[in-house]
């Protein structure tokens, strides 16, 4: 023990352990690879694939898959592949941001309610209240209510994006809040929190250092469910005519638009349907794997 600076054991981040465990879950690994591929695809695909998603080539409309158009074209001759990528960007962006918002809100409320006894009653009643509000109708009303104001401020796409994300986010944080609160309550009783208190750690650091890292796994799991939920809600809103404008591709929109052509051009339904299902599926499997990987009982030694 003479060399005090040299630490022989590698400083191994626990995320590596999580990753090791995650890797052993086959479904999760495949899911993760898929998800990364999809994200890379929609992010960088449009750079590589030269055709613009809004470019109309009216002469080649309603074509089946070919080399020029791997997924065919739509009724105006726009390239479906390009539209799928553009749509994926929006759908995933909606999914990820709405999820992040719901998660942020849910975690904030959950942690506050769980940690500060005084806030608990108030925050949990608020959560109950939100749970008691029938969501879909309210979502519809909210969208009707604010769409135009936001459109005016951020342009039609930006406005509806903000609206969609905040509407979905604001109506789906409650479950997370409840779960997080429950976990925080349990963690608060764990001895290491008491230990930190006996040291004199103030609440702020107590939350960031001890509570939050330990409620991570339910949060992560809600996160994966949240993405799937947001993508699907967006498509349902498209169906009810309240989603993004029709010329603005999202997977939900593309799916909805092509349902009419189910018999003539079944592949048109297939692409967005497949994209949504695969994303949701991979995200769900990832969630399963993450839950296992983040559970120290399973990960243990």
């Amino acid at each position: 023990m003479t060399d005090t600076t040299q630490i022989t054991a590698p400083p191994r981040n626990q995320w590596w352990d999580v990753w090791d465990q995650f890797k052993t879950h086959k479904g999760a690994l495949i899911g993760a690879i898929f998800f990364v591929l999809i994200i890379l695809g929609v992010l960088f695909g449009p750079w590589i694939w030269g055709i613009d998603a809004t470019f109309i080539d009216i002469r080649s409309r309603n074509q089946g898959p070919s080399f020029a158009h791997p997924m065919g074209t739509d009724q105006l001759g726009r390239d479906t592949f390009a539209r799928m990528m553009a749509g994926g960007r929006v759908s995933l962006a909606v999914g990820l941001t709405a999820m992040a918002l719901a998660l942020g809100l849910g975690t904030l409320v959950g942690v506050m309610a769980g940690y500060f006894k005084k806030l608990d009653g108030l925050l949990m009643r608020t959560t109950d209240l939100f749970l008691a509000l029938p969501l879909l109708p309210l979502l519809l009303v909210i969208i009707m209510l604010f769409r135009d104001k936001l459109n005016a401020a951020f342009g039609p796409e930006g406005g509806i994006f903000i609206l969609m994300v905040s509407a979905i986010g604001a109506t789906s944080w409650m479950q997370t809040a409840r779960i997080v609160r429950g976990d925080v309550l349990a963690i608060k009783e764990r001895e290491f929190v008491l230990a930190a208190r006996s040291i004199g750690t103030p609440s702020r650091r107590m939350i960031t250092r001890h509570i939050l890292p330990n409620v991570l796994s339910p949060i992560m799991v809600s996160a994966t469910l949240g993405i799937a939920n947001a993508i699907i809600t967006e498509s349902a809103l498209s169906f009810l005519g309240l989603g993004f404008p029709p010329d603005f591709p999202t997977w939900g929109r593309l799916l909805f638009d092509s349902v009419d052509y189910l018999q003539q051009y079944p592949e048109r339904v297939m692409w967005p349907g497949l994209a949504i299902s695969l994303t949701v599926l991979s995200v769900n499997y990832m969630g399963d794997g993450l839950r296992d990987a983040l559970d120290p009982k399973i990960r243990g030694r």
């Binding site: 009643r125 509000l133 029938p134 879909l136 909210i142 799937a228 009810l240 349902v259």
Partner: protein
């Protein structure tokens, strides 16, 4: 238990009042206009006149007060009069009137209730009945082929929006299959159909198959996942080992000891899902033309029918609050360890 229930019941009153206010205001403030759906050829003076006739232009707080009174005081009395034949002096009072149909909102809701309950309720039942065994077997045989397939199917069920799966089954069973075939299924739900004999029952059954299955797929997906998780939690408990040590059959161990415990959270989740039956499955109803409460709501929203939207939304809220309460009470009843008092 009893005081707990009473306490919760009392607490629901302010909650509901607050919710009613929120709902009233949100819906009211939305730019929905009762004349929005009239043809363009109707000039604006006429629109204004219609609005005036519908009482849209009164102060908000007056409207809220009136609405509250109608909802909580007038309508219950009217229903009591209907049910018991009393006279409670409701004759001259104006009820909650829908803008679109100019008829009492409550009557509309009552009219829609049967088909929604029939279709969505059956779907919920079927979905639950399918989900439970799937969840139980998946958990018992964790990571088996059955479990993997169950997971896959339920995730697909979770990720396929009903406007897609609905249309898909319609194309498969109503379009591709000739209508004289035995397997042909009607694509449009007949809400006037009455079951009087075996034949009409068969027809009712056939017309329910598709909407019920499309809905049940989603319900199954969710409940089976939940059941599986809950079963897994319990399968590792010590008391299961005790039961085995007693020499009980595997079936008894799982179906009596584990199931009973696992069902406690599942049952409450199922109870919490029941309000959604009344809320209808808006999209599925739309696809199969099961004109239930969901469709009523969506038409009302689109048509700017403010009283209908408010009332319907609020009824959903009441149901949610109520079933939350029921779920909590159920939890206490099912789990002898829980004592709320």
């Amino acid at each position: 238990m009893f005081t707990f229930t009473i306490r919760r019941l009392i607490l629901t009153v302010p909650t509901l009042l607050f919710i009613s206010f929120v709902i009233f205001m949100i819906v009211k403030l939305s730019p929905s206009d009762p004349t929005g759906n009239l043809p363009l050829t109707i000039p604006s003076e006429v629109r204004e006149q219609i609005r005036e006739a519908l009482g849209v232009n009164k102060p908000l707080i007056v409207q809220y007060g009136l609405w509250l009174k109608q909802f909580f005081w007038l309508e219950p009395r009217i229903y009591m009069e209907h049910a018991f034949g009393w006279d409670l002096g409701t004759a001259g009072e104006t009820r909650l009137i829908s803008y679109q149909t100019r008829s009492p909102v409550m009557d509309l809701i009552m009219q829609r209730m049967p088909q929604t309950l029939m279709v969505v309720g059956t779907a919920y039942l079927v979905g639950t009945l399918i989900a439970l065994p799937i969840g139980i077997i998946s958990a018992y045989k964790q990571y088996s082929v059955f479990d993997q397939i169950g997971t896959l199917v339920s995730m697909i069920g979770f990720s396929v929006p009903p406007f897609f799966s609905g249309v898909l089954v319609i194309v498969l069973f109503s379009v591709m299959i000739p209508s004289d075939s035995y397997f042909w299924l009607p694509s449009i739900y007949d809400t006037t159909h009455e079951v009087v004999d075996w034949e009409s029952f068969k027809y009712q059954f056939r017309q329910m198959i598709m909407p019920v299955m499309v809905l049940a797929l989603q319900i199954t997906a969710q409940i089976s996942r939940f059941t599986r998780a809950s079963m897994l939690d319990n399968l590792n408990q010590d008391y299961v080992r005790t039961a085995r040590a007693k020499g009980l059959r595997e079936r008894t161990v799982v179906l009596v000891h584990v199931l009973r415990n696992s069902m406690i959270p599942v049952v409450t989740v199922i109870a919490l899902g029941i309000p959604s039956i009344f809320g209808g499955a808006i999209i599925t109803e739309q696809v199969f033309k099961v004109n239930g409460l969901g469709q009523l709501l969506i038409i009302a929203i689109q048509g700017g029918d403010v009283p209908t939207v408010q009332t319907l939304t609020f009824i959903f809220a009441i149901l949610i609050v109520l079933f939350n309460l029921i779920a909590d009470v159920l939890y206490g009843i099912l789990d002898p360890r829980i004592r709320y008092d």
